[in-house]
Symmetry: C2
Subunit: 397 residues, 2 copies
């Protein structure tokens, strides 16, 4: 019997190996390959393809003319066909340290790199990712440091009348200690959900690394779902594996802001939080910056730290929610109580740059203090990761 | 300024929509489309392709001859090209209720369905998934029931000398209550990791649904990483986005079993567990069944419930660990203490069927009680989800 079982175990290994080889159609292709000098080679086997391109944020953006104006789109590069139908492209220059995303375009059809299992979803698009260490992206890598816990938690929102899902980061040592922690509420943009900040935003890695380096204080980070019509991220609610839309109802019309106290109440009841204003921060990107702006002025005693990352500023014209009424008076009240930090970050080519400049002018005209960071580039995750990396170091000091 | 900001907000929406359209190369293609009668249509745009197939576990398996014997491989079906370069295939028959996985094969190259963002990784292979409700798969769907929390937690393993990652399911009500819960330790197979049972195995959905129906008692489920050389799943450790291998060192040579008390100690210290043997179960699939077998007999006072799902039985010939010494005597000790449940499940065509039959014969010859479930099919996730759905209902009664 022993020999038979041994055979079975070797089959077990063989079967997996075989299955992989069979499924992958030959020997393993390495893609992307990051070379020692930080140039990168992309490879894909496509023997019958006519044209193979790679597109991603590691390439210079290109201007595309549209009826609505000129848009910055990710660049593309052409792969060349070599032996055995394997197409290849190597970046002419080393890439700077960053977390990059890309996909192939085979005969006009976008497709993920079949050799790279690391993928992230951005709204309805799935891309592969890779990371170049040795600089900014060291903050985005999993390093040999103590790691916090990442939880998907359901909470009750009586205001919205539903159970909703959030992602919660508790810092290393939370489970085994009894300390109380301050809380950063971190909000996503339009089309995103409670997954966005931990997948595209690398929030857990950024916090793990900053805390380990002593550059941020240990904190809880609560990442909500800002689409008030949605229980949870696509695939994670009773709606099932439905198509993904960035055009959801109830996103920037006051519902989420109105229901936000439900979130804070649940978090303060469930986790060992410090419950005072000085121990609460709120920040978000794009729509989440808009939410952060309006939530923090609606509840002026709730948050002492506010971060607007490439934020939208004003609601749509037909938006009737009380949340957006008397905005100037509410801002006056908020700033009269002197927030510990009001932080604004935006990219130079962001389509919301002008709206943010106008908003800063308003703050300036009233003499309200804020911290401002301007970066290269536009409305992109690269900037939002940088803003979080910067903002988190300034909290709860 | 208001009009400008309004414009910015409409741009915000437009930009996302535009980006998607640009990236997707036209109007949205629905794939897979599950029709009312549970037939399913798959679609992909590939105007220059010569041959497009779909492969997946919804198709009948095919026999493939290899030097090592005859293997059951997933079947393939041919798509037909229609208008605008869109290829299509509709299943001739309705599909039974199940969670299915598939990919396309375009001119011999496996690729995920670009229209379907729902994907799972199985070792080094990424596939799309879809779900047919109305039967067994209702247990695998997210339904409108109270949801437990799913956490990725790092723990210290002094025995292995590293921080390691585990996935922990705590049942609905855990955060807001003060009850203590029994614990199921649920182990993955070769090439898997601490993600496998919650992605491919749908463990959180199965537990949520069984508990909501009153068919399982509320329990904590701890899903470890059974590769003792690995801190965490690929991409989640300091190794970075490394290639994925099913051929890892230190998987079935005693290290994981030896270090298992570290896991139980951490869990009992960190969570509100019931700490007695009657409140602990251990189960696993394939290599995880092997681990469950050897851990439960090595520590005969630790687990009252044992589940072997398509389990490997005996270690390799050159495996020297004490864990595998005196196996018969250890089994005698374990069964003398009369486990509340010793459960064995296997598929009729599983390559480990004979090894399991031999093992059952040994148990029979000694008069040791166990529960046995035999299903159709082989060494596949479909069976392991069924076994968990069955096993979980029998625990902690």
């Amino acid at each position: 019997m022993k020999r038979l079982a041994l055979f079975a175990v070797s089959l077990l290994t063989a079967s997996l190996t075989f299955a992989q080889q069979a499924l992958w159609g030959g020997g393993p292709l390495v893609s992307p390959e990051v070379h020692d000098d930080n140039t990168v080679t992309f490879r894909i086997k496509a023997p019958k393809a006519v044209r193979v391109q790679v597109t991603g944020d590691f390439l210079p953006q290109t201007k595309v003319e549209t009826p609505r104006g000129t848009w910055d789109m990710p660049g593309t590069a052409e792969l060349k066909e070599g032996r055995n139908g394997v197409w290849e492209y190597t970046t002419p220059q080393p890439l700077a340290s960053e977390l990059y995303s890309y996909t192939f375009v085979v005969d006009g059809q976008r497709m993920p790199d079949p050799a790279n299992v690391y993928m992230v979803r951005d709204v309805a698009t799935v891309s592969n990712i890779f990371l170049i260490k040795g600089g900014q992206a060291d903050l985005y890598a999993v390093n040999s440091v103590p790691h916090g816990t990442l939880s998907r938690v359901w909470y009750d929102s009586p205001t919205l009348g539903m159970q909703r899902r959030m992602t919660v980061y508790t810092p290393a040592g939370y489970e085994t200690g009894n300390k109380r922690y301050p809380v950063l509420y971190l909000l996503h943009g339009m089309g995103g959900d409670e997954e966005a900040w931990v997948t595209l935003g690398r929030a857990a890695q950024i916090l793990d690394n900053l805390i380990a380096q002593g550059k941020a204080v240990p904190m809880i980070v609560v990442m909500t779902n800002g689409n008030a019509s949605q229980e949870a991220a696509p695939g994670e609610s009773a709606q099932g594996f439905c198509p993904v839309s960035s055009n959801l109802p109830k996103t920037m019309e006051g519902s989420f802001e109105t229901a936000f106290p439900d979130v804070v109440k649940f978090v303060d009841k469930t986790y060992r939080t410090r419950k005072d204003k000085h121990s609460r921060a709120i920040a978000g990107l794009s729509m989440g910056g808009f939410h952060s702006l309006h939530i923090s002025k609606q509840y002026p005693d709730m948050f002492d730290y506010v971060g607007l990352f490439s934020a939208a500023i004003l609601p749509g014209k037909d938006t009737l929610s009380d949340i957006y009424r008397d905005s100037d008076a509410k801002l006056d009240t908020q700033f009269a109580r002197k927030p510990a930090l009001y932080w604004i970050g935006i990219g130079k080519t962001d389509f919301l740059y002008k709206a943010n400049a106008d908003f800063r002018q308003k703050l300036d005209s009233k003499g309200y203090a804020y911290t401002y960071m301007e970066t290269e580039g536009g409305h992109i995750w690269r900037n939002w990761r940088i803003y979080l990396s910067e903002f988190a170091t300034k909290l709860f000091r």
